[in-house]
Symmetry: C3
C-alpha cells in the first residue's frame, strides 16, 4: 500500500494542511508512528503527542486548534476516529484480497469451476465437481473435498480443510487449520462392550459473512440429507467444537474453546464466552448470553437470559451463591458456634 496524503484526504473528504505529496505506507498509534505513517487525534488526552509525533500525517477534527508548532501534515475531517477506521478497513481489504492467480503445483479435480480473481496457493487442493465463486482466496495447503460449493469473496487461509459436500456462503473468512465436515461422534454400544460406528453421511452448510477461527472443528450431520448449519453473520473464534447436527443462528458470537454438543440449536444474536459447554439437544433461545467456562445443561424459558456457572444458572443468582461460597468456612464456624450456644440453653 502506498498513497499520497492528498489521495487519502480525497478518499476521506477532508482537507490537507501541509505537503499533500508525501507518501503514506502504514497506519499507527499517534505515540508510536514513524515517518511515512498516518495516525489520528480524537481523544484530547492524546493531544500532547501531536506536537512530538514522527508521523507524516495526522487526521484531526475540522475544529482542531494546535497550541504549539506542528511538524506533521494535517488532514481535517468531520470525525477523525471514523476516518482512521475507514483507512484501516480499506487497508485490510487491500491486504485480504491482494493475492490473485495460481501458484504451482496445485491440484484441481474434474468438473470443477473457479470464478474470476481467485487465488489458488501452491499445494492447495480442489476436488471434483467443486464450484468456487469469484474473488475467493485459497491459501497454500487448503483442502476442498469433492462436490463443495464456495461463494464469492470467501477466504480460506492456509490448511483449511473442507470435507466433501460442504456448502459455504459468500464473504466468509476461515482461519488456518479449520476443519469442516469431519464425522460426528456417533458410536452405538454393543453387548460385548465394543462400539459400532453410526455412519455420518450428512454435510455442513455455512451462511454468508461467517468468520471461523483457527483449528476449530465443525462435524457433519449424521443422515445423508441433513446438515450441520451455521447462520449468516455468525462469528466463531479459535479451537471451537461444533458437533454433528448442530444449528447455529444468525449473528451469534462464540469465543474460543467453546464446545456445542450434538443436535443443539443455538439462536440468533447469542454471545458465549470462552470454554463454554452446551449439552446435546438443547435449544438455546435468541440473545442468550453465557459467561466463560460455564456449562449449560438445560433448556431456557425465554430469550435474552444471562447464564453463568457449571452447571449454569442466572448470572446474578450465581454470583450471590458464589459470594457465600467464598465465605463457607466462616459460615461453617458460625453454625458450629450457634449449635454450641443452643446446646447450652435451658430447654422446655
Amino acid at each position: 500500500m502506498e498513497f499520497t496524503v492528498a489521495q487519502l484526504a480525497f478518499m476521506l473528504e477532508g482537507t490537507v494542511e501541509g505537503d499533500g505529496e508525501q507518501k503514506i505506507n502504514m497506519l499507527a498509534k499517534i505515540q508510536e508512528a514513524k515517518p511515512h505513517q498516518i495516525s489520528f487525534l480524537s481523544n484530547p488526552k492524546y493531544e500532547p503527542h501531536i506536537y512530538t509525533t514522527e508521523a507524516t500525517a495526522i487526521i484531526v477534527s475540522k475544529d482542531f486548534k494546535p497550541r504549539e508548532k506542528l511538524n506533521t501534515t494535517l488532514i481535517r475531517v468531520e470525525d477523525p476516529y471514523l476516518a482512521f477506521s475507514a483507512i484501516l478497513d480499506e487497508y485490510h481489504k487491500y491486504l485480504s484480497f491482494q493475492k490473485v492467480g495460481v501458484e504451482e503445483p496445485c491440484f484441481i479435480g474434474n468438473n470443477s469451476e473457479v470464478g474470476e480473481e481467485v487465488y489458488r496457493g501452491a499445494f492447495s487442493y480442489i476436488g471434483s465437481n467443486v464450484k468456487i465463486g469469484s474473488n475467493v482466496k485459497i491459501y497454500p495447503h487448503a483442502y476442498i473435498g469433492d462436490n463443495c460449493t464456495i461463494g464469492n469473496n470467501t477466504i480460506l487461509h492456509s490448511g483449511v480443510k473442507l470435507y466433501a459436500n460442504t456448502i459455504v456462503g459468500s464473504n466468509c473468512v476461515f482461519h488456518a487449520g479449520l476443519v469442516i465436515g469431519s464425522d460426528g461422534f456417533g458410536f452405538a454400544p454393543q453387548a460385548d462392550g465394543t462400539y459400532k460406528t453410526i455412519p455420518q453421511l450428512g454435510n455442513v452448510v455455512i451462511g454468508d459473512d461467517v468468520h471461523i477461527g483457527g483449528n476449530t472443528v465443525v462435524d457433519c450431520a449424521a443422515l445423508p440429507t441433513d446438515s450441520t448449519f451455521i447462520g449468516k453473520g455468525t462469528k466463531l473464534d479459535n479451537l471451537i467444537q461444533v458437533a454433528h447436527n448442530v444449528k447455529i443462528g444468525k449473528n451469534t458470537v462464540i469465543a474460543a474453546q467453546t464446545a456445542i454438543a450434538g443436535s443443539a440449536e443455538i439462536g440468533d444474536n447469542c454471545v458465549f464466552g470462552g470454554q463454554v459447554a452446551i449439552s446435546g439437544h438443547l435449544k438455546v433461545p435468541n440473545k442468550t448470553s453465557i459467561g466463560g467456562q460455564s456449562g449449560l445443561g438445560k433448556n431456557l424459558k425465554k430469550e435474552g437470559m444471562q447464564m453463568f456457572g457449571s452447571p449454569a444458572f442466572e448470572i446474578k443468582d450465581y454470583y450471590r451463591s458464589y459470594a457465600v461460597f467464598k465465605n463457607l468456612p466462616d459460615l461453617n464456624i458460625r453454625l458450629k458456634q450457634l449449635e454450641e450456644k443452643v446446646l447450652n440453653l435451658p430447654t422446655n
Copy 2:
C-alpha cells in the same frame, strides 16, 4: 451409489411391492425424501408421511397394512430400522473406501512399502521406512513420518500428521488435522528461572478400530523405548489433548476438548464427557464415567464410579451439594436470623 429397488431388496432379503426397476441414489428421512431416495417406516407415529412421501421406495415391516393409497414402492422386511441402518452402513463403507490410486504430486521416501488398493492423495507425504497396509486411504496433505507402520483399512483424512515411529492398527479412522507423536510437555526448571527441555524420544502406539477426531493432539512418550498408548476400539472426539506416556484402555469413549495429563492410565470401557480434565499419573479404573467439564484429581477406589465437578466427586453427592449451593444466599439469611434469635434468648 446407484442401485435398483430390486437390488436393495435382494440385499436386505426383502420383497418388493411395486416397480423394482426404479433407481435409488440416496437415503433420507421419510418426511424429507425426494424421488430416487429410499427411506423407512418403523415408528407408527411417522405413518402419515408414507401416504405423501416423494421417496421412490420405503422399507416397511412384513406386516404393514396401508390404510390409504400409496404412491411409493415398498420393500417389506423383518425389521425396517435395521434394514435401513444396513443400507446406511453399506453406503458409508462405499463412500469411505471409494478412492484408490495415486494423485500427483505426492511424496514417498526410501524403503517404504504400500499395500494394495491404497489411495495416496495429492500432496500427501510418506517418509522413509514406512509400512502401509492394504486399502489404506491417505488424503491430501496427510503426513506420515519416517518408520511409521499403518494397518489395513485405516483412513487418514486430510492434514493428519503422524510423527516418526508412530504405529497404527487396522480399521482406524483419523480425522483432519489430528496430530500424533508431538513432543510431550517436559521441561525441568533451572536455578536461573529458565527451563531445560527434557528430550521426548518415545513414540505413540494405537490399536485397531480406534477413531480419533479432528485437531486432537496425542504426544509421544518421553523415553525412547516407551509409548503413549491407545487401546483397541477406543473412540476420541475432536480437539482432545493426550499427554506423554498416557495409556488409554480398550473401548473407552472420550468427548471433545477433554485433556488427559502426562502418565495417566485410563481403563477400558470408560465414558468421559466433553472438556473433562484428568490429572497426571492418575489411574482411572475400568467403566469410570465422568461428566462434562469435570476435573478428576485423585485416584478412584473401584470400577464403575460416576464422577462430576471440578474437582470431581461422586455425581449423586455432587448434585446434592450443588442443590444447596444454589440456595446459599437463602441459607446465609436463615443463619443470620437464627443468630439474632439466639442472641435475644435468655441465657443460663
Copy 3:
C-alpha cells in the same frame, strides 16, 4: 545413531569395564533394555535388574560394587543419572537436526533468504521476502507467509502455519498444526444486530527458546504496528488459545487447552495448569501459579500468588470453601435442626 561403548565412555569422561567395541544404538530403562541398548543404574532399588538385564552396557557410579556376576559391560562415571541424561540430550539433538536439504516439490517466493544446513520438506511453503536463519528445519506442509523472519536452529514441524509478518526467534520448537498470526476475534456490534469486522493488521513476535505445542493458535495484534508477544524461554503446550494483543513474559509455562483472552499481559515465570482461562485485559504478575480448569477474572495484587477455582481465588481459601461445599447437604440439615430447636425454645 550408532556408537561404540568406548565412544560413549569417552564422551561421558567414564571408564569401560568389558568390551568397549560393542555397538549401542538406543537408550532404554534397565528393566526393559535389549542388546545394543544402554541404560543406567542410579537408584539402588533397581540394582537387581543389573544382574539380569539384556542391555549391552550400563552406566554405573564409580563406586558401584556388583554383588553378583554381570553379563553386561559397565561405564563408570561420577553421576550415572546425569550421564544418561547427557546421552539422551545428545540423541535428541541428533534426531532433531538430522534432516538437511530440499525435498521436491517445495515452494519459495521472491526475495526470500535461507541459511545453511536448512531442511525444507516436500510441500513446505515459504512466501516472499522471508528471512530464514541457519539450521532451521521446515517439515512438510509447513507454511511461512510473506515477510516472516525465523532465527537459527528453529524447528517447524509438519503443518505449522505462520501468517505473513510473523517474527520468530532462535532455538524455537513449533509442533504440528500450530497456527500463528490468525486474525484476532474483533467484531463491533451494529444497530441492526449484525457485526462489523474490526481489521486485525498487527503481527506476532516470538522470542528465542520458545516451545509451542500442536494445534495451538496465536492471534495477531489488531493495529498494524502492534504485536502479540511471547517472551524468551516460554513454553506453551498443545491446543492453547492466545488472543490478539496478548503479551506473555519470559520463562512462563502454560499447560494444554488454556485460553488467554485479548490484551491480557502475563508476567515472567508463571505456571498455569491445563484448561485455565484468563480474562481479557488482565495483568498477571510474575510467578503467578494457577491450577487446572481455573478462571482468572480479576487483577492480582502481588507476585507469586497461587490461584484456583472458577472464578479463581487463593488456592488455600478455595480448598477451605470447597471442603465445606462437599458437606453442604449435611450443613443444611444441621441448620434445619437448629432452627427447629430454637423454635421450640422459650422466648423472652
